[in-house]
Amino acid sequence: MRVTGSRYIIIIFVIGALVLSACGAEINRLQNADMVDSVTLTNKGSDTIVNLALAWAEAYHATYPNVSVSVTGGGSGTGIAAMINGTVDIANASRRMKEKEVDNAKENGYVPVEYVIARDGIAVIVHPQNPINRLTLQQLSDIFSGKITNWVDLGGENRPIVCLSREVNSGTHVYFLESVVRMGNKNDETFFSPGTLLLPSSEGITSEISQNPNAIGYDGLGYVTDAVKTVAVSPSDDGLYIMPTIKTVIDDTYPISRALYMYLPGEATGYTKDYIDWIYSEQAQSIVEELGFVPVD
């Protein structure tokens, strides 16, 4: 019995080894075949841009079948960190690179090159049954920094306010902090209130707001669905209240809008250059508009 037992084991090992090596050879062959006539560009970063980047990647691959662009999200900080560490070809960001990040990249031998690839309005959203229709920037700042904690202070129902924000690695978070919570004042040290919920995705924010009448949050214009209500925002106390639309973002009347960026770890060359050039084509910029973002010239 023992002898047959070991023999079985040996046979299994031998078969296993043969199968594995065969697989390995097969995979190698496939990879080699792929290497000859196709290229994969890696593209990572902002979750705001990820749907747009995916749509671009698909359209580009349809036109140029030998180039595929692999797109992943994770947040602007994630994409920029990957570029600094040299693991992606193109980083997506919904904020500009910080000086510190540029320095880090230079230390690693990369000189980042910036492209503004689209514009985005950030919509402030509440539950559909919330009677509040409009807010000023100052009120938004007070809400998210925790100075106003009940809807009744804004003329709404007697309900506690629950603030929702994206995680700190999101460019939208940083942008909202700088231009809404701190109202563009660089020396302002106001923070999001510690009770602000930090949700890992745009979808998380939309789904919580659609079911919680206490909640208020923000999301890129492209992510707003019918399940939530968008609030009109006024830049000053006596000004007009403006709804975020493609038109108001282009003519810059809506106060919470920003540029979306792509960063390359050096001057664009070869396939990367072709891709970036294509992004500024009419075809690519019409995809921008389809997804609820705002095209650039």
Partner: protein, 305 residues
């Protein structure tokens, strides 16, 4: 070439040696891996202490993008959520184990035990999804809370993940108590409950303790579920009342922020320090558990001899 030649003595000795070596290496490897992980964590987290002071780490604001690295909110968040999960999971899990091992008829037992183990195999992201869509709105409406994304929601789901572990291990331990113990207790006129509480459960205590520790270990290390349902607000937790506000755990912080950091930055080192804290916590839990077990075993040996 026949089989007699292949399996001669020398070959067998060689085979014996190889198999023995493989087994020995696997045995030692666990220790080596733990050691290496610890060394790696130390190496990546120690630079933290050169760059910021311990006082800054031991503070109450966590806002890494502006260099506030107070880990207290995260530490207290993890502890309170784990405590909440343990308070739910331990009684519930032990009662289930007792029911399955001692009370349920054989046919029911054969259905229940595999079902509980299947529950243990549900991926955490699926539980998290259920938490967001079903449990969180329920918690908000039934408990009149501002939001359902609270530590309590996380604790309930973590308890759900710890219970299968607790039930499975504790049930095995109860099952291993010799039938003679129960017969003796019943013969002395003890009721069924007295038998369970005074005889079976104490006899199985080491297994029950292991079950509890494994369950808690699962709860404190869980990441995905808590990241999805606890709201991740870095607030200080103080006392059990904090279960009903949003909290941020250490695991969720590492998961949410590790992708963002540049290798070698201060934030990167601080995240590794948090990993080190988690490692030390689970090490302490395990060492305490084995120390308690060891003491208990020695006492039993004394009593029996």
């Amino acid at each position: 070439m026949n089989s007699k030649m292949i399996f001669n003595t020398k070959y067998r000795q060689l085979l014996e040696f190889v198999v023995e070596a493989i087994i020995r290496i696997s045995g030692y490897s666990a220790v080596v891996f733990v050691g290496l992980i610890f060394l790696f964590l130390m190496q990546e987290s120690l630079p933290t202490f050169g760059e910021i002071q311990a006082r800054d780490l031991w503070s109450q604001r966590w806002y890494p993008i502006e260099n506030y690295f107070g880990v207290l909110p995260l530490l207290s968040g993890s502890l309170i959520i784990t405590l909440g999960a343990a308070l739910i999971a331990i009684p519930f899990g032990l009662m289930t184990a007792i029911f399955i091992a001692e009370i349920a008829p054989l046919w029911l037992r054969e259905i229940l035990k595999p079902l509980v183990e299947v529950l243990g195999g549900v991926p955490s992201v699926v539980l998290g999804f259920l938490g967001i869509t079903v449990l969180a709105p329920l918690v908000r409406e039934e408990l009149y809370l501002p939001t359902g994304l609270t530590a309590f929601t996380g604790a309930v789901l973590l308890a759900g993940m710890a219970i299968p572990t607790i039930v499975s291990v504790a049930e095995d331990a109860l099952d291993a108590v010799p039938k003679a113990y129960r017969d003796a207790a019943l013969a002395l006129g003890a009721t069924r409950w007295q038998t369970i509480w005074r005889v079976t459960l104490p006899a199985a205590r080491s297994g029950v303790l292991t079950a509890t520790m494994l369950g808690i270990g699962r709860a404190i290390g869980e990441t995905m579920t808590v990241m999805m349902v606890t709201g991740n607000a870095p607030q200080m937790a103080s006392g059990l009342g904090s279960l009903f506000i949003s909290l941020r755990t250490m695991t969720a912080t590492i998961a949410a922020e590790m992708g963002e950091v540049a290798n070698g930055s201060l934030h990167y080192h601080v995240l590794f320090s948090i990993g080190l804290i988690l490692f030390l916590i689970s090490l302490t839990v395990n060492i305490t558990a084995s120390a308690v077990l060891f003491r208990a075993r020695k006492r039993t040996e004394r009593l029996l001899s």
